[in-house]
């Protein structure tokens, strides 16, 4: 066990955990931020996606000891009122079915738009293919990302 000072959603959080603990479990079990989901634990499904200094990272494979001073953003911190253009587009297009994968999809999508504000459908497919949706909402996700891209440009 060791103490770590993490920057999570703009706040300092101190945790006392095994240095090998993935940030996913620090978030879920220690900080009770359960918006970031567990789907596979081997960075193959994307449900655990967070932003590390604005870039999409699979938190199930990020040991807390490697987080250091980097800014961790989770779905809870993506926007204050749940009104990030990606979140709004998700609601406008009524994307979700079971909803379990969607926070990971939203975190991946918002990171994509930060680095590529006008992605083509192929760009979206390539970037988002690390996020599995078992319910099959991929088409709505694609359209929602395009909608968010248009709305962000305004």
């Amino acid at each position: 066990m060791a103490k770590f000072n993490l920057k999570v959603n703009g706040t300092n959080k101190e945790v006392d955990v095994d240095p090998a603990t993935p940030v996913l479990w620090v978030l879920r079990d220690h900080l009770h931020l359960t918006g970031t989901k567990y789907g596979c634990g081997v960075a193959s499904c994307g449900a655990c996606t967070i932003h590390l200094n604005g870039k999409a990272v699979r938190s199930c494979q990020l040991p807390v000891s490697a987080a250091g001073n980097l800014e961790i953003t989770t779905i809870e911190g993506l926007s204050e009122k749940g009104d990030h253009p990606v979140q709004k587009a998700w609601l406008e297009l009524d994307v979700a079915q079971c909803g379990y994968c969607q926070t990971g999809q939203i975190m991946s999508a918002s990171a994509l738009l930060k680095s590529n504000p006008h992605p083509s459908d192929a760009d979206i497919d390539n970037f988002m293919s690390g996020n599995i949706c078992r319910c099959g909402t991929y088409l709505r996700i694609r359209e929602a990302i395009q909608t968010a891209a248009r709305n962000t440009a305004k």
């Binding site: 989901k37 567990y38 459908d121 293919s129 099959g136 694609r142």
Partner: protein
């Protein structure tokens, strides 16, 4: 609803959200904004929901809370079922708040989410629930104004007395209405008078989902809660022999290691009590990561499981189930299935004289199809929260069938049914997997043993390798063709491990004078369970591929040939109990033909396949257009035609069909577990291929047949035929027919 120390509470974590199109979820904080004058005179305490019926509560300010009875796993009944109530209630959907009901059969009558039955079985019940509450409000208004109820109308949460030029909101009437008896008989609206049903409404939980609120069992947290994991053999056909917990117990955060027997000695299983391994090792600790690490330190000895016979009381009555010993492999499965095809099999249906027709045939078309075991792979792995004490057995659980697991819990935990409380958590996927709730028994037993609240967590590996799969199947279709190119007989023979998928009374039974259906099974120690349209999810693809090949053989258009057969089945049905409505089946074929521009010049070069199927009370047809790129299929477009009667919520309905299309394409192309010496070779998503963004169709168009038939389901019906449409489209695109799933195997094999 849980104890005061709960961090998780359906209301406490929610913030006020802006209305995103009606049906929002709200929390405690909004009550502070209630103006005193909105509270009814005489009720100066903080405003509370006034309960009219088990389903409907009203606030003085005219907000309406509707309880959604059925467990939710993405089929969005949490929106569509309250919509049905709201319609008959004549509530203003923009002022409706939905709350997931707890398990309570006396109150809600039916809380079964499966078989695509929620809307179908809830239709009358929910309409009556809405109509009763409205009747009480009308009666209260009539009493208030001293006028006959017949002079009153209600709309959008307000009761009007036209003659007296006055109105009262439901909120103002609620207290008086709540004192009236709930009427036994109520009048329901004419479906042509619906104003809400049939309009596209957004998921009432959308805001919570996109902001990551704790909705799922895996998110549940309670003070003092421990984490538990169950450890099972690495291969089917094995069982626990012994274990040494010494090293595991030394690991940080670990509280306890012990073993449990899921079902007690002599317990007779019911149909949904399926569990793969009865004797499990349990590790309990403070946090998930600590338990994950500690379980790796267990020294466990497994031994071969002897052959067993267990009584199972399924829907067909009591049956003895043989669970063979041995370590099974996929290679043996295929070999054994081919072997069964060569042996006589039980006859399921026979019309006319198929043997004679085949003997006389000029040509016989014979094709064999197969498919592997499929894991459900719900995105949220299996989990369950339980806190079992002398006073209460409290669960927060993902279950599609709380009423089925109740007697199992009572029997195996030794609790009384009256002490059982189940909060129906939103599920990260169901697909039938969460109808088998052995994990609730496991969590309950663990909680009893450690005398503490516990959240049982399955890792993805636990989830993927624990069985309750979609069975493996094989089927051979044979058609006898005479010298005039008429199909004179059909013979379907097939089976599965351990269930077969032959629906002998479904189409094309009834369309052929000579018809024989035979089915066999092979017992297995690999457990199976319902997987999105059981049986249908294999046989539809095989049947629709065969019909396609048969149509080509006799020189007919695939859609025209199906319609021709259905018209024959309608005009001159052969045999009895033909399980389909030919008109509705033709209806979806004609709709998909029209909407896909089938046979038109602009689709002349399309690489397309068609398939249609009827199951779980609804009709579905798809046309798949694809192209090949580097030897891999790219699905350009799918046009889907559905007949599910009245469409309750077109938004949710369209989403379901799209999802089923994507799911079907993924399973047809990639899905399948491979077994070697009893062990599934794939244990996680880095080994098991799921369909991803880049493989999803570019476009899906969904069309619904318009009729006034009472609504039927959509969870399963669109899924089975997509396998056939894919196989048929791949044929046009590659010149090759695909008989064995997953199709990617043949696609990646040269020649």
């Amino acid at each position: 609803m849980g104890n005061d120390k709960n961090i998780y509470s359906r209301r406490s974590f929610l913030k006020v959200s802006s209305l995103t199109g009606g049906g929002m979820m709200i929390g405690f904080s909004w009550m502070a904004s209630l103006k005193p004058t909105e509270v009814l005179a005489g009720n100066t305490a903080a405003a509370e929901w006034i309960e009219l019926t088990g389903f409907v509560k009203i606030m003085p300010d005219n907000m309406v809370k509707i309880m959604s009875p059925n467990p939710e796993f993405g089929q969005n009944v949490i929106t569509s079922m309250p919509m049905i109530i709201a319609e008959e209630l004549d509530a203003d959907w923009k002022k409706v708040v939905v709350e997931q009901a707890d398990f309570n059969i006396p109150k809600y009558k039916s809380q079964f989410s499966g078989g695509s039955q929620s809307i179908r079985q809830g239709w009358q019940l929910l309409r009556k629930a809405g109509a009763s509450a409205k009747a009480m409000l009308l009666q209260a208004a009539a009493a208030e104004w001293n006028v006959p109820v017949a002079e009153l109308t209600a709309s959008q949460g307000v009761v009007y007395h036209k003659a007296g030029n006055r109105s009262l909101t439901y909120g103002a009437l609620a207290t008086a209405a709540s004192k009236l008896p709930i009427p036994e008989k109520v009048e329901l609206k004419k479906t042509t008078d619906f104003s809400l049903l049939g309009t596209a409404q957004k998921n009432v939980e959308g805001q919570k989902i996109v902001t990551g609120k704790p909705l799922f069992t895996l998110d549940y947290h309670q003070e003092g809660m421990l984490i538990a994991m169950t450890i099972r053999p690495t291969a089917f056909g094995m069982q626990l022999k012994s274990y040494d917990a010494t090293e595991a117990l030394k690991m940080p955060g670990i509280k306890n290691v012990f073993d449990i027997k899921v079902y007690k000695e002599g317990y007779e299983r019911a149909g949904f009590d399926t569990r793969t391994f009865n004797h499990l090792v349990v590790v309990v600790g403070n946090t998930t990561w600590e338990v994950m690490n500690a379980r790796k330190k267990l020294a466990i000895q497994w031994e071969p499981m002897p052959e067993k016979k267990e009584m199972v009381a399924g829907w067909g009555g009591k049956k003895e189930e043989l669970i063979p010993a041995g370590l099974e492999s996929s290679a043996d499965h295929m070999k054994n299935m081919r072997g069964m095809q060569k042996k006589p099999a039980p006859v399921l249906r026979k019309d006319g004289n198929p043997e004679a027709a085949f003997a006389k045939a000029k040509k016989v078309l014979e094709r064999t199809y197969s498919a592997p075991f499929l894991p459900h792979n719900t995105m949220e792995p299996i989990s369950c929260f339980a806190h079992v004490t002398e006073e209460k057995a409290f669960f927060v659980a993902p279950t599609q069938v709380p009423d089925f697991i109740r007697p199992t819990l009572v029997a195996n935990l030794g609790i009384s049914a009256s002490k059982l409380e189940i909060q129906l958590a939103r599920m990260g996927g169901g697909f039938g997997r969460r109808a088998y709730c052995h994990y609730m028994v496991e969590a309950g037993l663990i909680s009893q043993k450690i005398k503490a609240p516990v959240k049982l967590v399955y890792t993805r590996e636990d989830d993927m390798t624990n069985g309750v799969y979609r069975p493996s199947y094989m089927v051979t279709y044979k058609a006898a063709i005479d010298e005039k190119n008429n199909v004179t007989a059909i013979h379907i023979k097939g089976g599965g491990i351990p269930d077969n998928a032959i629906h002998a009374n479904r189409f094309p039974a009834g369309a052929f004078d000579n018809y024989l259906a035979e089915g066999w099974t092979i017992p297995s120690n690999i457990t199976i369970g319902a997987f999105r349209a059981p049986g249908s999810n294999f046989i539809a693809g095989a049947e629709q591929s065969f019909l396609d090949e048969l149509a080509e053989t006799i020189g007919k258009d695939p859609i025209d040939y199906r319609i021709e057969l259905l018209q024959k089945a309608k005009a001159n049905p052969v045999g009895k109990n033909n399980d389909y409505d030919a008109d509705r089946y033709i209806g979806v074929l004609e709709l998909v033909k029209e909407k896909s521009d089938w046979g038109k010049p602009n689709t002349k070069n399309a690489r397309r396949g068609v398939a249609a199927y009827f199951c779980h009370n609804s009709y579905a047809a798809h046309v798949v257009d694809l192209t090949m790129k580097n030897g891999q299929p790219v699905v350009e477009k799918v046009v889907s035609a559905m007949d599910c009667g009245l469409v309750v919520n077109p938004e949710g309905a369209t989403n379901m069909v799209e999802g089923a299309v994507v799911d079907g394409i993924g399973n047809a192309l990639f899905g399948g577990l491979v077994f070697e010496k009893g062990e599934p070779k794939q244990k996680n998503f880095n080994q098991y291929r799921m369909i991803r963004h880049r493989e999803a169709p570019k476009k899906i168009e969904v069309h619904f047949v318009k009729n006034n038939i009472d609504p039927t389901g959509l969870g399963e019906p669109p899924f089975p035929p997509i396998f056939g449409a894919m196989a048929n489209a791949l044929y046009k695109a590659t010149g090759k027919r695909f008989y064995d799933q997953p199709f990617i195997n043949a696609l990646n094999t040269k020649g």
